[in-house]
């Protein structure tokens, strides 16, 4: 019983940590992509204008 908990717990923690990291990275990544590629704020659009065109984000 003791061996079961010691072997299973780290695996569960690792899988959990992996998914937490993936979820956080997805959230941050989508935020950055929205800012660079989609944000309708005019200043952000103008700053990222050439990048948006070059990377084929729909732009004005």
């Amino acid at each position: 019983m003791t061996t079961q908990t010691t072997t299973l717990a780290p695996v569960a923690v690792r899988a959990n940590e992996r998914l937490m990291a993936a979820a956080l990275a997805t959230f941050l990544g989508l935020g950055l992509i929205f800012m660079a590629g989609f944000s309708p704020a005019i200043a952000l659009h103008n700053a990222a204008h050439d990048f948006r065109h070059a990377q084929n984000f729909p732009c004005h």
Binding site: L28, A36, G37, P40, H53, P58, C59, H60
Partner: protein, 241 residues
């Protein structure tokens, strides 16, 4: 794990942005500047402003009369902001790439990084470009929100389809994946309004090809950079532990 993922994504995004910014400044920015000479200002707003105001005038983020329309000065400042935007985009895609690798249970290496990055390129650059070819300022196009919605839908469907085909690999998954990849193109991208543009077709064609070429290099660098950084930061972590 979280720190390793964030730092590998920062490194990969930076490496990819350095290469992609150089390519953008050399290959696409000159074409954009040239195309802007053909851009007809929309009626009712200043000639020097980009015609973004009308497209967004109803949006809460951008009250049209709130502030003067800031834009980077031509030359160095504009190039610097293009580089900054490429960095932000590169780190953003690298974060998502890392998240997908981890969620799929793959150890990020040069090989898995590159393979998933090419799937990323297919999802967010190639597939949307089939319906909405990379476009220069001054080209006729459908309303922005409709194009953005189709772009997001196509990128998400293609990414999910490639995941079903490449990772799941059962018969049903492959079938569903193919349906997901094809569906956005059956629905069709919002068509541009009929009308002619002054823009030379050769300029637009050259831009579209260069844009996709830069995209594939950008993504390959993100994937290779992420795999490399993940391995490197991991072994450094183990040595210190």
């Amino acid at each position: 794990m979280i720190l390793r993922l964030l730092s590998a994504a920062l490194a990969a995004g930076f490496l990819a942005a350095v290469v992609a910014t150089g390519l953008e400044l050399a290959l696409t920015s000159p074409l954009i500047v040239e195309a802007e000479r053909y851009e007809t200002p929309a009626p009712g707003h200043a000639a020097q402003a980009l015609p973004i105001v009308l497209a967004h005038s109803g949006h809460d983020h951008a009250a049209p009369d709130a502030a003067p329309e800031w834009q980077p000065a031509p030359g160095f400042q504009r190039m610097a902001f293009t580089g900054l935007a490429t960095l932000v985009g590169g780190v953003g895609w690298a974060l998502i790439l890392g998240a997908v690798l981890l969620a799929c249970g793959r150890e990020p290496t040069l090989q898995t990084g590159l393979a998933f990055a090419l799937a990323g390129f297919a999802s967010v650059a190639l597939a949307p470009a089939l319906g909405l070819p990379p476009e220069l300022p001054g080209q006729e196009a459908a309303p922005l929100l409709a194009r953005q919605a189709w772009w997001v839908m196509t990128a998400a469907a293609t990414g999910m389809g490639l995941y079903l085909i490449g990772v799941r690999r059962s018969f049903i998954a492959i079938l569903g994946g193919l349906v997901l990849i094809v569906a956005p193109h059956v629905v069709g991208a919002p068509p541009p309004p009929s009308g002619s543009s002054e823009l030379p077709a050769a300029l637009a064609a050259q831009f579209a090809a260069r844009s996709l070429a830069i995209g594939v290099v950008f993504w390959a660098m993100i994937g290779l950079g992420f795999g490399w950084a993940w391995q490197n930061f991991g072994s450094a972590g183990r040595r210190h532990a």
